[in-house]
Symmetry: C2
Subunit: 103 residues, 2 copies
């Protein structure tokens, strides 16, 4: 399993474009066979801060995602939306245990 959470900080004038592109990407991404979870969150107190929580079956599934047309289309919008550099964390799932994660 490969778990990645990324944080993005978006230019005010790009909020809607980023949000639409991210939702469209999420709707396609969740259909990929190797994706267990693909959640999109917006910070309740800082609306320019978004976080994507991505759970892949393995690194192969992650690599597959990075080459899909929907990811590449999203990336074009995202790259011009970032207000500053984002950051991310890779996690290990302790609870539920990895074997208990289902789509």
């Amino acid at each position: 399993m490969y778990i990645f959470q990324v944080h993005h900080y978006i230019k005010p004038e790009m909020l809607e474009a980023y949000k639409n592109a991210t939702l469209e990407n999420a709707r396609q991404t969740i259909l990929e066979p190797g994706i267990l979870r693909f959640d999109v969150f917006q910070d309740a107190k800082a609306p320019a801060h978004f976080s994507l929580f991505e759970v892949y079956r393995d690194l192969v599934a992650r690599e597959f995602h990075l080459q899909t047309a929907h990811f590449l289309a999203w990336k074009e919008v995202a790259l011009v939306s970032f207000d500053r550099k984002g950051h991310g964390d890779e996690f290990i799932a302790l609870f539920p245990a990895e074997l208990d994660w289902k789509k």
Copy 2:
């Protein structure tokens, strides 16, 4: 829905105690009627960094959780485990949309 992610930074000598207490708390917490998700993660690259991803049906469910015996037992261990102050974010779910979240 109330979504909260907290980040904890644990003293090296308290890692196992914190982990055990957190797993025990998670196993009890997920049984609460108002809890939609209660995930426990450990940073794959910084093992002293843990993150809890908590999704409650509403703020009432969050308040209920904070008064349970299992939360209070966890808190006793957690308070002596923290190496430095943690931090947290409150999120709004964009994808899946709130109505699509199930336990």
